[in-house]
């Protein structure tokens, strides 16, 4: 399973690495991702403690969260994607449907009426 990522990394030509180096930013998100992967791989913590650690890990500024979800999706790290999507679900659960449509810029509004 790591072969795909390994291949992806190996196929990046050296000069392309130079052009990616634009942003320290990317390294910041990568740092978070690596931190997550290392923690989940270490098997040193109990399940309950790991869950608590996950909650702490996902408790970040919404922009970091957005970046994390894109990275987790791009790199297809399912458990991290689960965690971040769960956190986003948590952040939006209290909103009204109108607020959701506005937030995500959803145009196709349902004709279905909601009782109040």
């Amino acid at each position: 399973m790591s072969k795909t990522v390994k291949d992806a990394i190996e196929t990046i030509p050296t000069d392309e690495i130079n052009s990616i180096s634009l942003s320290l930013v990317r390294s910041e998100i990568l740092t978070k991702v690596i931190e997550y992967c290392k923690k989940h791989n270490s098997a040193q913590m109990s399940d309950v403690d790991l869950m608590d650690w996950d909650v702490e890990f996902a408790n970040v500024h919404y922009t970091t969260l957005f970046d994390l979800v894109l990275s987790a999706n791009y790199m297809n790290i399912n458990c991290l994607l689960d965690l971040v999507c769960g956190k986003i679900a948590d952040m939006i659960k209290g909103k009204t449907p109108g607020e959701i449509a506005k937030l995500f810029d959803i145009k196709d509004v349902s004709t279905y009426e909601e009782d109040n």
Binding site: A89, L103, D108
Partner: protein, 465 residues
């Protein structure tokens, strides 16, 4: 230059990590995703507040109920109405701290559309599958696409992947035997569907559950019904080939991880008669007779629900004291003789993470306490691992108490009743946490309901009976 060195280091670290790791699945990269990422300073992290393990506040009589109205109209169109009265102004201490730890401070003004309008559409299903059930029903009016999610195969797969931490409880109350009341322990809320998922002429009792579905048996022990309490998905099972009028114990398992791949229901009677229903074939089957190694008559403990671990169902028996198990995959019955703890009453089986447990009342002299035991597999003995806090047990001192255990996997709901008292408590096996449950009050009612019976179920929006 420093940036390049740092990036190179990180890439080598990543390379190293994925080379060594064996637990994280990575698939082929998708070329269509954005590759630009914005920099923002990391926010100061807030400490999460852990719930107190014991709520000393008496719950007020103001009802906490949320009226869920689920009407079957067109397929997949449901209405949900929020309570007419505003929520109570003062929330218990626990709710306030919980709100903080879940990031309630990230309100709509903080989540800027600037960022979120670029949220990839293919990730919406993953997020929606993780919403609380009540929020899901509310958000169906956001757009047509979200409205049709219940019918979507991919959404169903997302739902199946979401690990359900806490089950809900489907209960039948003494005063309202025709429709159930459902309890959501994560929000500590009772829901009263005003339209029952079951036909109202029947009086049925929940006897087992698996994969988000609940199995009901009518009060005459004749017919079985399966239903998803959250949606209108309902099925009456075909008649059994054996007419059994006496009481039976019932167990339910799913094939695979979710009810999507089908389920099996087993009933067994004291005389050793049993049958297995397979949802894929929609028929009952009699795989053979109970072997001689299982002593008959089978004095089943009907207060105890069957426990399912993978494809094996476990039932409690007495005379001799112990457990009998049936593996629906191998079709093998096994008997385990396990001496019961002394002075034990109202006991039921439970399970957590593959470990079989026992819950029961221990009465010595005039003192009664709720105890939890674990089964030691090597010695086949029960070992006490926890007790209800003393201060709660004192409430029952000198009183004759009866206990019903609803749910038997991970989170248990215990209904403790004596002449003047009716207590509802949940116990989290993993966290060894005892919590009080707010009283079950019907909407516009004031009287706390008594729970007659019930079962836990893991809420799954897409489980189909």
């Amino acid at each position: 230059m420093e940036g390049l060195a740092m990036l190179k280091y990180l890439i080598s670290q990543l390379h190293q990590l994925f080379h060594d790791s064996s637990s994280i699945l990575l698939q082929q990269q998708q070329p269509s995703l954005p590759t630009t990422i914005f920099l923002h300073p990391p926010p100061p992290t807030t400490t999460t507040t852990r719930w107190t393990s014991f709520d000393s506040e008496e719950d007020s009589s103001v009802d906490d109920c949320c009226d869920l109205v689920m009407a079957a109209g067109k397929s997949h169109s449901f209405r949900i109405s929020e309570p007419l009265k505003p929520p109570p102004a003062k929330k218990p201490r626990k709710d306030r701290s919980r709100g903080k730890s879940l990031g309630r401070s990230c309100s709509s003004e903080v989540m800027e559309q600037e960022i979120w309008k670029d949220f990839p559409e293919d990730l919406f299903e993953a997020v929606i599958a993780r919403l609380p059930i009540a929020a899901f029903f509310r958000f169906r009016s956001v757009c047509r696409q979200w409205d049709s999610l219940l019918a979507s195969q991919s959404f169903s797969q997302h739902c199946a992947q979401v690990p359900q931490e806490n089950p809900w409880f489907y209960t039948i109350t003494h005063e309202n035997v025709n429709s159930g009341a459902m309890y959501d322990p994560s929000l500590k809320k009772w829901h009263h569907p005003s339209i029952s998922p079951l036909p109202t002429k029947l009086i049925v009792l929940p006897v087992a559950s698996a994969g988000g579905l609940v199995c009901f048996l009518d009060i005459g022990h004749r017919n079985f019904y399966v239903c998803n309490p959250l949606t209108q998905s309902f099925k009456e099972l075909p008649a059994r080939s054996v007419k059994v009028w006496s009481r039976v114990a019932v167990g339910m398992t799913v094939n695979g991880n979710s009810a999507g791949s089908g389920y099996k229901i087993l009933w067994v009677g004291c005389n050793g008669e049993y049958e297995v229903y397979d949802s894929v074939k929609n028929s009952w089957n009699r795989p053979g007779n109970i072997p001689g190694s299982v002593k008959l008559p089978l004095s089943l403990n009907f207060r105890s629900q069957a426990v399912a671990i993978d494809s094996t169902l476990y039932f409690m028996r007495s005379d001799p004291e112990g457990v009998v198990s049936y593996d629906v995959a191998t079709r093998v019955w096994t008997q385990y003789i396990i001496p019961a703890p002394l002075h034990l009453t109202d006991h039921t089986l439970a399970e957590y993470d593959g470990q079989i447990m026992l819950v029961g009342l221990l009465t010595k002299n005039a003192a009664t306490c709720v105890c939890i035991w674990e089964l030691q597999k090597m010695t086949l003995l029960w070992k006490e691992v926890d007790r209800m806090p003393n201060i709660w047990c004192l409430d029952f001192y000198g009183k004759h108490v009866r206990m019903t255990c609803l749910g038997n996997k991970g989170l248990l709901m215990l209904s403790l009743r004596s002449k003047q008292m009716n207590r509802l408590v949940t116990y989290n096996i993993a966290r060894k946490e005892w919590l009080k449950v707010p009283g079950c009050v019907v909407p516009h009612g004031k009287k706390r309901q008594w729970i007659a019976c019930g079962t836990a179920f893991y809420p799954c929006l897409t489980a189909v009976a």
